[in-house]
């Protein structure tokens, strides 16, 4: 891989990330401890420390289209062990948020991205999660109709899946929150 650094783009991207993150990219000294402990590192295309360096170098496209940012499950193992106290988990949040705002759809990990979107839609319309609806909508969207569905009968039998969701009465407040922050 070869990267030609465009100083202007590099600065604007890295400073956007830094200001959302409230942390400095230069703090990371690339020891790799974050990546070593990351539970999902085996699936990632770039390791967390690479994502940090790439962000510093302004490799915006590669970073925002990476699998890594969507695979991260925010377990905070990285940030907790980082010797420099760098917000590794935070940078993943920030990059996902930027990708989302830019309308970038992850090619490799669109299901994860979609799950988050469907989840928030569910919150928006009910104020709470109605799991059956959530799962249904998600399955419809991703067209993975049958995957996981074999669990449903047993879960129903155990009383784990409710047929009726609850809606809260302050839905207008929830709508306002979404309007203000979406």
């Amino acid at each position: 891989m070869k990267t030609v650094i465009n100083e202007q783009n590099r600065r604007s991207f890295s400073s956007q990330v830094e200001s959302m993150l409230h942390d400095k990219l230069a703090k990371c000294y690339q020891c790799g401890k974050c990546s070593a402990g990351c539970p999902v590192n085996f699936e990632m295309d770039y390791t967390p420390n690479q994502i940090i360096k790439m962000t510093e170098l302004g490799m915006e496209d590669a970073v925002l289209n990476s699998k890594t940012i969507w695979l991260c499950v925010s377990c905070n193992t990285c940030s907790t062990r980082c010797p420099k106290g760098f917000e590794v988990t935070g940078i993943m949040d920030v990059l996902r948020e930027i990708a989302e705002k830019k309308g970038i759809t992850s090619k490799a990990e669109k299901e994860i991205q979609m799950f988050h979107e469907v989840f928030l839609d569910n919150v928006k319309s009910n104020g709470r999660i109605f799991e059956l609806e959530l799962v249904g909508k998600y399955k419809l969207k991703t067209r993975h109709l049958f995957r996981d569905m074999f669990l449903a009968p047993k879960m129903l039998e155990k009383g784990k899946l409710k047929m009726q969701g609850e809606k809260i009465s302050g839905l207008n407040q929830i709508a306002k929150i979404f309007k203000d922050f979406e």
Partner: protein, 295 residues
């Protein structure tokens, strides 16, 4: 003990109803009253902070603000994810004045950060209830039962926000296990991540992570696992059969909520604790308890 608010969160009203049932049962036995926050909303769980930071603070903030308005000074959030989101929101509101202003404006409610004590299930049991009180209620000590405590990520990390136990070697749940008379089992992956929210969208990854934890627990000779998080529970319990099939090795580890284990030691009928609600049946555990009691 001040006025105690209860934030159940969505899972306890759905897939993890066993958690709520058992929790209410043991609190009843302990004679402790908690009240659900009125008209609470979903905290946004992992989805909100994954793609919208401000939303991930605003959603839980509404619940905290309602609790404050209603005069509570302590919230119990049994779901580890919910308690984590509530603590995160509290932390951010405390440290980011600009955001705090935006959010309280949007909510049209005030909230004083750090004014409320936000407790996960374990903190609540150890801190608000107290070891002595729990111990005094143990009618049927579970001695001889080997129990592995699985903490996962959300209870302990990030430590600067969670302010709970040791992030690498937590012991609180083990202490509670010991109170029931059971024997805590030490193993290597107490705080290793189970894959959490990606359960539906990335089942293979989740099975790999959860499998690793389960097989390690198995190897260390536990009879069962206890958890304090619906997400952990659903990955360890609901997915267990599939994991066995995938890795072609039996696990057969019942996964109980810590509240259920405590309920059993209180002598509460397993049915009343909804222990039959799990996908991996807990019969083996119940049988072992009977055997040990008869000895």
């Amino acid at each position: 003990m001040g006025k105690l608010a209860y934030y159940p969160g969505c899972s306890l009203k759905g897939t993890s109803f066993e958690y709520e049932v058992s929790l209410l049962k043991i609190l009843e036995a302990l004679n402790i009253e908690i009240k659900e926050i009125s008209d609470w909303n979903c905290c946004g769980a992992s989805a909100a902070h994954s793609i919208n930071h401000n939303l991930s603070i605003a959603l839980p903030a509404r619940n905290l603000a309602i609790a404050e308005k209603d005069g509570y000074d302590s919230v119990l959030a049994p779901c580890a994810a919910c308690s984590s989101r509530l603590k995160n929101a509290d932390y951010e509101l405390k440290n980011d004045d600009v955001l705090k202003k935006k959010i309280t404006n949007s909510l049209e409610m005030n909230y004083v950060p750090a004014g409320m004590s936000i407790n996960n299930m374990l903190e609540f049991l150890i801190g608000e209830v107290g070891k002595d009180r729990i111990k005094s209620m143990v009618k049927k000590p579970l001695s001889g039962l080997k129990v592995a405590s699985y903490y996962g990520c959300l209870l302990v990390r990030p430590p600067k926000i969670m302010q709970f136990d040791d992030a690498e070697n937590p012991v609180t749940m083990d202490e509670l296990v010991a109170l029931t008379g059971a024997e805590p089992v030490d193993y290597s992956f107490k705080t290793e991540c189970c894959g959490a929210i990606n359960s539906l969208s990335k089942p293979d990854v989740v099975m790999a992570l959860t499998g690793k934890v389960l097989y390690d627990i198995k190897k260390h000779g536990a009879d069962l696992v206890v958890v304090a998080c619906p997400l952990c529970h659903s990955n360890l319990d609901v997915r267990q059969r599939e994991i066995e099939r995938k890795y072609e090795e039996k696990i057969g580890l019942p996964v109980l909520f810590i509240t259920e284990l405590i309920g059993l030691s209180f002598g509460i009928n397993p049915k009343d604790l909804a222990i039959d609600g799990h996908m991996v049946t807990a019969d083996s555990v119940l049988r072992k308890i009977e055997e040990l009691n008869n000895k």
